[in-house]
């Protein structure tokens, strides 16, 4: 999975490209942790180029979400396709994560 991060004011916008699975979960976790360590309490993950997510990817989302919640930050996902949406729904992750249609709406909500 490719990860491209940019900062818009105080919000990390992170574009993910590829499957969020057992092969990509650990490197993704390392990269997202690195970004948060660099500073910033707000993060949006853009899923528009992610075909699917497995439980290994959910583990990373949960970790980031819990960290940002503890630190008083904000976390959102945008652009999830049907397959990713279905996985989030069947695992109840749609209730504990904030989902937005696209980057624009996510940035508005986190601003």
């Amino acid at each position: 999975m490719e990860i491209n991060a940019a900062k818009d004011n105080d919000i990390w916008i992170v574009g993910l490209e590829g499957n969020f699975d057992i092969a990509s979960a650990n490197p993704a976790e390392a990269r997202l942790t690195e970004l948060l360590d660099e500073g910033g309490l707000k993060m949006v993950l853009d899923f528009s180029q992610v075909p699917y997510i497995a439980s290994s990817g959910l583990r990373v989302l949960l970790k980031v979400a819990q960290r940002l919640k503890n630190d008083g930050g904000m976390f959102g996902l945008c652009g999830v396709n049907n397959t990713v949406g279905e996985v989030l729904e069947m695992t109840g992750f749609d209730k504990i994560l904030s989902l937005y249609e696209d980057q624009g709406r996510a940035l508005e909500a986190l601003a």
Binding site: N19, I22, A54, S55, M90
Partner: protein, 146 residues
């Protein structure tokens, strides 16, 4: 009359090998229209089952083989995963509480929950030294094997 197309692949207990299974399935799916939309879901199912086996089934550092069998019938897709790890029935796992608030959520059991949700039937048996997991996905009744 049922016609059936199959393919098998054997991998070793190395997480990097999971990708081979997904690629083989993608190739298989590409030549059978009925499977095209199922691709991502089956990839997730392989990811969950195989990563579980490779991470937890072996008590030694030796190389082990995992066999994956795929069969496409007119109305269903069958998957069979066989490993020679320690006896382990993944279906015994307690389902996760998906209603907990974020700070109480853990990741345990989610993979099995996802694959059970995606597949129509999942069954486990221990036969000799092997764990055998059989999975069935019912296909739309109007679709045909191309």
């Amino acid at each position: 009359m049922d016609s059936m197309v199959t393919f098998d692949i054997v991998i070793s207990n190395d997480l990097a090998e999971i990708q081979k299974v997904k690629e083989s399935f993608n190739q298989f799916a590409a030549s059978h229209d009925v499977l095209r939309t199922l691709g991502p879901k089956i990839a997730i199912v392989f990811d969950e089952i195989l990563s579980n086996i490779i991470s937890y089934a072996y008590r030694d550092e030796k190389r082990h083989e995992i066999e994956i069998g795929v069969a496409l019938l007119v109305d269903r897709l069958l998957l069979k995963i066989t490993d020679d790890g320690i006896p382990f029935n993944p279906l015994d796992r307690k389902p996760p509480d998906t209603g907990l608030p974020i700070d109480k959520r853990t990741i345990g059991g989610l993979g099995i929950h996802i694959l059970r949700s995606f597949m129509d039937e999942v069954s486990y048996q221990r036969r000799g030294e092997n764990n055998i997991l059989d999975l069935v996905k019912i296909l739309e009744p109007t679709t045909e094997i191309s």
